[in-house]
Amino acid sequence: MNHNPLILIVEDDVSICNFIAAVLSSNQYHLIKAETGKTAISLAASHCPDLILLDLGLPDMDGIDVLKSLREWSGVPIIIVSARGHEREKVEALDLGADDYITKPFGTSELLARIRTALRHSQKPFTGASRRDKITLGELEIDIEKRLVTINGREVHLTPIEYRMILLLSQNMGKVLTYDNIIREIWGPYTNEIQTLRVNMANIRRKLEENPAEPKYIVTEVGVGYRMVEEV
């Protein structure tokens, strides 16, 4: 860790900006701030940050448009900061290439966890860590080579679709995947299998979780999608 990641905060509200800045600098991140969409784009181009925290409500332009123009040339991880109750906006942002989102109001630990996850995922392609043979999460173990899922050493019988869903979520551990995203990966484009997806997820939960109403491994983001937690 000789290199401390640089984070660009795009947020027009001064007090929130101060609060985030305080949290991040106390955790040894470098940071730059932008209050408008235009400065955000130009700063992103000139400073090449390692991660961008993007608020969707900006004074000069729509945050979604900022996201679109950034994604035209940059693969930098972007975490959307959005207000609660706007699932459609979140889904749109995720489908447009945002890496994750965090809902206002949020706590410091939550923010730091999301930033860590996003940074790790962005580094993987270079470190080659994404192709692990085994994924372990609490009592859950996924042996990719053998295509075997075990809980507490006991084998879980999964259908091929269920296995592919677990695999997809585990490869994106900590990140939220939208319903559309999962459906596209599993069933291919141009299908609308939202009901099938729900049913499959319900079955997976009944196989993996002790109480499907208190899931430990895969949580739901209502109206958005599913996320496999990083630590139990």
Partner: protein, 884 residues
């Protein structure tokens, strides 16, 4: 913009302007001038299109066409012939600023929507398109009589006068008759066969001069009328108002034309009246005449009453009639005339101040034929009636014989026979038996009771006179009885209809809800007319609209569902005129469509299937009355719906303002706390000990969290649609929602035990997931707050009947009796208990209930027998009856 134009062809947009190029004969150059004018317009930048030009026009005319944009014609197969006709729909679609359409008086082939071209042009004008068109003088309805007398040939097709009167501009195209004759000889005019016939008759120098004079006069009249418009006319002129009386069995077309002309000269208004009397024989003729009057620009009225003169007099007084016009046929005598006073004499007596004009009418041949036909219709022969007649006469003869054995008395015998004739007229149908009985009774009397007996000879000289008197008496009695009977029948029929209308009206008054009105009306119409019916209460262009009902003998609703029918209904809705089978517009439609109008606004359309034949005039009249009743009911319904909507709006508004007041009050408290604590920290600085400092900070945190919860609740209210109070639902897995809610609560309150139970099978419920999550969060936090720290809070979801049941249970003290009733009400500050102290969930719970209600579910709260409270709400499952 385009959309708006299409949707609103009438309404707000201004009407198009009509310019008529008027000529006195074919070949004077009307079409040429029209096209020439069109050219100028096109050059000055007006979007001009040629809609239709007669291909039989002269070469130089057709050459003008080359430089103008031409609308493609519509090809239709007319019998074996292919015909190309003006395409009014294409014109409406294209929507130019100006369109040129030749020959205003043209009659369309039956495949077209409108019978007459002037109807096409009216549609164009209504759509805001300016129209140039051409017209020959003889085709104006009010002049057709005169023209007929000049050229001895009926002009055939005519246009109603109001079209001509309402035209914005008239341009007279003149050409010297001598030149015209020359052109004709050169074969420059009218190469098409249609006019060939008329040509021989029209094109004499004399005729052309007369027609030319007529044209000039008409144009001059129009000019002086235009000049006078706006200038106040004299008192005497204002007061002039003509009234044409159509009498039964008297053709009144001459009177109508006369009145039209007179009204034009005096610039007076005029009306035509017909009194529905007992006899219905002339219904079609009367209708024809009323139609004619309407075409000539008259107001037409049908009145009811048995004393025609009194009714007319009353009408004349009420509407300020100054002149009455009556047609009269000279040599028409009937026995009825012996008893009736002439109508004009009666009117003369009743209205001494009104001028009476009597116009001699001639009986055209066709009417006489019709009357004869009607007479034979009245002769109905049946075995039953024949036996009744003969039996009654035989009885009368026997009775007379009996009387005669005791006393010889002629008078009694005659009375008995007359009585028998009366009875026969009463019990048989038609005139025939009464008349036959009159003759037979005289013969029988002669045969049995005059000396010499049993012969038809009569010796005594006074007998022929007796026979004569007896016959006349018997005949008159039979005729009168018959008339009374007919009258009774008609009044019974009228009574029946009135009763029906009354009944419908009563039922409609009792009916609530548009659907019920539609259903009731359709039921009555199918019952009365025994035909399939369709009813729209909105613009029929919407494919989901329309209520169909079939009758027992007319199961043709499938036909009414066709796209063409919907378009016909749409036309009726837009143009606010009846159309379809039996009218002059869209004659090929399978049904007769009538608009439901109220104060000139279309409320809907009623269509009656004509698969079993067209409707007769009586039915249409009755239907019209019925429709006006329905219009009232529909309008009443619309008004009450509107009222209810306004009420709902104000309710919503009230709820909102209550909420706002309650919230601003609630919010002030934590804000004060935050402000206070933070200022203390900032100002006291180093002097503050560590414990107080941390205490203040955690107070700030708690207050902020409370504020966030409040704001989240408020946000959820905004997700409920305004007005409809509904939410956008999509199927969600209840376990996911429950899990989310629980994890959300755990994030805030980590030290409490919460157990969750969901059904083993996946349960999908249509809902707004975020909102239900919010409800669960509220309920869980509420339960946590109202129970001790060590106790558990339970959340259980199960499905029961057609509902998903969510239950939140705690083991606290339960709900006090006083609170159970108004737990979910929005509590107002100062209204009973203050919400301050407890920072209660009053608003939270009332929001919960609003959310559940918006989902079509219900919510309840109760105390458990084992202690603690339970909050329960029900959400309808997929496919369940929506309760909202």
């Amino acid at each position: 913009m385009d959309q708006e134009k299409k949707q609103n062809p009438i309404g707000v947009r201004k009407k198009g302007r009509l310019k008529i190029f008027l000529g006195y004969a074919a070949g004077v150059g009307k079409t040429y001038s029209m096209l020439d004018n069109g050219h100028e317009k096109l050059k000055s930048g007006v979007d001009t299109v040629v809609g239709y030009v007669d291909q039989g026009s002269s070469q130089e005319t057709l050459s003008l066409l080359e430089k103008l944009p031409i609308l493609p014609l519509k090809s239709i197969s007319h019998g074996k012939l292919q015909r190309r006709e003006f395409d009014v729909d294409a014109a409406l679609e294209r929507k130019p600023e100006l369109i040129l359409v030749d020959d205003l008086a043209y009659t369309n082939p039956p495949e077209m929507r409108n019978l007459k071209r002037y109807q096409d042009i009216e549609e164009l004008l209504n759509a805001g398109i300016d129209v140039y068109t051409t017209l020959n003088i003889q085709n104006i309805e009010s002049l057709s009589g005169i023209v007929q007398s000049i050229i001895k040939v009926s002009p055939g097709r005519t246009i109603p006068d109001y079209i001509f009167d309402q035209a914005d501009m008239i341009e007279t195209v003149d050409f010297a008759p001598e030149e015209l004759m020359k052109r004709l000889e050169e074969g420059k005019i009218c190469r098409h066969a249609k006019s060939g016939n008329t040509i021989k008759f029209i094109f004499t120098k004399e005729n052309l001069r007369l027609l030319r004079e007529l044209t000039m006069r008409k144009a001059a009249d129009r000019l002086s009328y235009d000049n006078q418009r706006g200038v106040p006319t004299g008192d005497s002129l204002v007061r002039t108002k003509f009234l044409v009386v159509i009498s039964d069995g008297v053709p009144s077309s001459k009177s109508i034309r006369w009145a039209a002309k007179a009204a034009e000269v005096f610039h007076a208004s005029w009306a035509t009246v017909y009194v529905d009397s007992m006899r219905r024989n002339h219904e079609t003729e009367v209708q024809e005449q009323l139609d004619l009057a309407r075409k000539l620009g008259s107001e037409t009225v049908r009145l009811n009453g048995h004393d025609a003169a009194a009714v007319i007099a009353e009408y004349a007084r009420v509407s300020g009639i100054s002149n009455i016009v009556i047609g009269k046929v000279r040599n028409r005598k009937s026995i009825k005339k012996l008893f009736d006073m002439e109508l004009e004499d009666e009117l003369f007596a009743l209205l001494p101040n009104v001028e009476l004009h009597i116009i001699p009418e001639s009986f055209p041949m066709k009417h006489r034929k019709l009357r004869k036909l009607k007479l034979t219709e009245n002769v109905v022969l049946s075995w039953g009636d024949t036996i009744k007649t003969l039996g009654t006469l035989a009885l009368a003869t026997l009775l007379s014989k009996g009387i005669n054995t005791f006393i010889y008395d002629d008078q009694n015998v005659i009375t008995v026979y007359i009585l028998s004739v009366m009875i026969i007229s009463r019990i048989t149908s038609g005139y025939f038996y009464g008349m036959a009985a009159s003759i037979l009774s005289v013969l029988l009397f002669n045969f049995f009771f005059t000396i010499p007996y049993y012969t038809f000879a009569a010796l005594q000289p006074e007998y022929p006179v007796t026979f004569m008197i007896m016959f006349i008496a018997a005949f008159l009695i039979s005729t009168l009885t018959m008339q009374i009977k007919t009258q009774v029948k008609i009044s019974a029929e009228r009574e029946h209809r009135t009763k029906l209308l009354y009944e419908i009206n009563k039922k409609l008054l009792q009916t609530r809800g548009l659907e019920n009105i539609v259903k009731l009306t359709s039921e009555y119409i199918t019952q009365i007319f025994d035909r399939a019916v369709v009813m729209y209460t909105e613009d029929p262009v919407n494919p989901a609209s329309g209520y169909y009902m079939e009758s027992s003998t007319d199961p043709y609703t499938a036909q009414l569902r066709r796209e063409e029918e919907r378009e016909a209904a749409h036309w009726v809705y837009l143009n606010r005129k009846k159309a379809g089978a039996g009218t002059e517009t869209l004659m090929n439609a399978g049904a007769h469509y009538m608009p439901i109008l109220s104060q000139g606004k279309s409320l809907g359309v009623i269509g009656i299937s004509c698969a079993n034949g067209k409707l007769d005039q009586n039915s249409i009249m009755f239907l019209r009355m019925l429709v006006s009743q329905v219009a009232m009911a529909v309008e009443r319904q619309f008004l009450s719906d509107e009222q209810r909507r306004i009420l709902l709006d104000s309710e919503t508004e009230k709820m909102r303002s209550n909420l706002l007041r309650a919230i601003s009050h609630d919010i002030r408290t934590p804000l004060t706390g935050i402000l206070g604590a933070s200022s203390v920290i900032l100002e006291a600085g180093e002097n503050l000990d560590k414990i107080t400092h941390d205490q203040l900070l955690s107070n700030i945190k708690e207050d902020s969290q409370w504020l966030i919860r409040m704001v989240e609740n408020l946000l959820s209210v905004t997700r409920i649609n305004e007005g409809t109070m509904n939410v956008a639902k999509s199927p969600e897995a209840v376990e996911e929602i429950a899990a989310e809610a629980v994890s959300h609560v755990r994030k805030r309150i980590s030290d409490r035990k919460i157990t969750v139970k969901v059904p083993d099978e996946l349960l999908m419920v249509p809902m707004d997931g975020m909102l239900i999550e919010q409800v669960l969060i509220n309920l869980l936090e509420n339960a946590i707050k109202h129970s001790s720290e060590e106790s558990t809070v339970e959340l259980e979801v199960c499905s029961k009947d057609q509902f998903a049941v969510f239950e939140v249970r705690d083991f606290g003290n339960g709900i006090s009796e006083g609170d159970l009733g108004n737990l979910f009400d929005t509590r107002l500050p100062g209204n009973g208990r203050s919400t301050d102290s407890s920072r209660g969930m009053g608003i939270g719970l009332s929001i919960c209930r609003s959310i559940i209600k918006a989902h079509g579910g219900k919510m309840e709260a109760a105390n458990r027998a084992t202690g603690g409270a339970v909050f329960r709400f029900f959400l309808p499952l997929e496919g369940a009856q929506d309760e909202s």
